[in-house]
Symmetry: D2
Subunit: 184 residues, 4 copies
């Protein structure tokens, strides 16, 4: 039955709008693996880490993977994001759209990141979303891995040593959350 | 080249959260034809006209059409919308999300509708989106067909006598807007 | 007791971002009378009808009235609105802020207006806010006066022949809503 | 001239929706001093640190201070916040309103705080707003004092040892930002 549901689990990738080659490679790998798992990739739809993750998922789609790519843009223009998004939500809300990016996800992966990524991590925590941080990516991801953002949740932001581990942990967290909901 | 773009044109369907059998049948037909054209269906993701349109597009997808279904929900819960959306954006913003529904579309089709649909028509007009109204569907769609909402645009809301005509007019308007952009 | 409450009733004035001398005079009078009644004037904080209403309230404040002036801007810049607002909320959300303008009001007065004003009228109706339309001001205010936007409410948008009558009707509607809440 | 401007500088106070007696006393003092300086206090309008800061500013107003109190609520109900706000913006946007709280301020003071406060600090940093953190208040305020959230800004979050110092630093930062704008 679950296999037939229209909506597949969605994983948000949060990271900076600029990325050097190392960071872009990590983000590309995360995006590729999300799409290969058949999950939807959600992100802010712009450049840097976001674009690299979208490009990875797009590449996977071209070779048969089913995962969709969603960009929730700060700008109001449908053509204002990177070219790899299947679905574009041009909010025109600026950084207030960060809340929508993480709300649209079943789990969130942090890659590097400055203050924008930090705001997404904090909102995701507040919304009860499982969080995974790529420890090798620097930025706020490295600083937050293994920590709890406040005492309202009993878990912590999971640290992942590789893109593969990050996606595996995110999928496991989604399945675990679903199982506990079904057990209620 | 265009055929390979990740993002396909998106058509928003706006209508009430309740629908009798006639209205639901019209919305279903519109959704089905949007998906059969390979376009993305965007809507508010809830019940009534929205659900019927999503169900129509979903039905088309199951029989091979490629059009995606996107629900931009007023609620914050990923599972809070109808079950036919491939992509769910649970904004948690209430009716303030109406602006996002029409911003995410290249053209907007109005079906019946009360004050919520009217707000979406007005916002779509303000954002410069082409509008088509199903004249046989009653509500604000019938009242607005053929009219201009203010003097800032030189066009009018196009009236369509059938779901088929509504989708055809919406697609034509999208192509025409694209052609004039490319000519710039 | 009520006299000591921090929050005074708020009246939103909705109208176009451009205004000729006649429209500006009407809006100025509405704003002046809102402030003289000690009520808070809420609006979109920009030019045209909004600025004229704010200027009227500001003028009243300078001569002893207590009503505050609030501008909920579409832009993100604190200095981006007209100069007559005591409190500025620079949402950076574009026209999605229209929902916030009417949510922040206990009653809404429509003056002239194009598609932006129409969207505010529709959202205010949806949110259950009492609506008054200045019949002599043209635009959507004149077209909507005396009508119901859908069947979910049993009342209609009240028509007012003058700024004085518009503010009187808005205040009466607020008092009546409050009385019926207290009677519950 | 500046003295006659309608809008006074606004200072946001960000902190948790729960507060013990010590934290509430700190927040009350901050709010009182903001209002005594004639500045507008902006906050999320709910309980805990927010309510205590509003109560402090409200107390100052009752004894002659001119500073206004603004609550930008996550809920949609005008009566849903604490009772000390002169102006209430019931966004109905949940935590997406955090972006609006900090956008509405010329400077931001952090008091204690969990993930919600952290998201406001991160957004304020992104928007270029001066930030002051009360070091004695624990939570994210204590953790962020003296740090930079990313490399896009050359300054740091200023640590303040007392409510008095926090308000003084915030006012000084506002004046300094204004002076550098005028020098342009």
């Amino acid at each position: 039955v679950d296999r037939d549901r229209a909506r597949k689990p969605a994983i948000a990738v949060c990271g900076a709008g600029e990325a050097d080659a190392d960071l872009a490679r990590l983000a590309f790998e995360v995006g590729r693996r999300v799409a290969e798992a058949g999950h939807t990739l959600v992100c802010g739809g712009m450049r840097g880490v976001m674009e690299a993750a979208c490009a990875g998922a797009h590449e996977a789609r071209r070779t048969g993977a089913s995962g969709l790519v969603v960009g929730i843009l700060p700008v109001a223009d449908l053509e204002g994001g990177n070219p790899f998004c299947d679905v574009v939500i041009p909010t025109g809300m600026g950084a207030a759209r960060n809340a929508l990016v993480v709300r649209s996800a079943d789990a969130v992966i942090l890659i590097g990141g400055g203050s924008g990524t930090l705001s997404e991590a904090a909102l995701a925590w507040q919304f009860g979303k499982p969080l995974v941080a790529l420890t090798s990516s620097g930025g706020w991801a490295a600083r937050l891995a293994g920590t709890a953002l406040d005492e309202k949740r009993r878990d912590a932001i999971l640290g992942a040593g590789s893109p593969e581990e990050a996606v595996t942990l995110a999928i496991r967290a989604i399945e675990s959350a679903r199982a506990s909901r079904c057990a209620d």
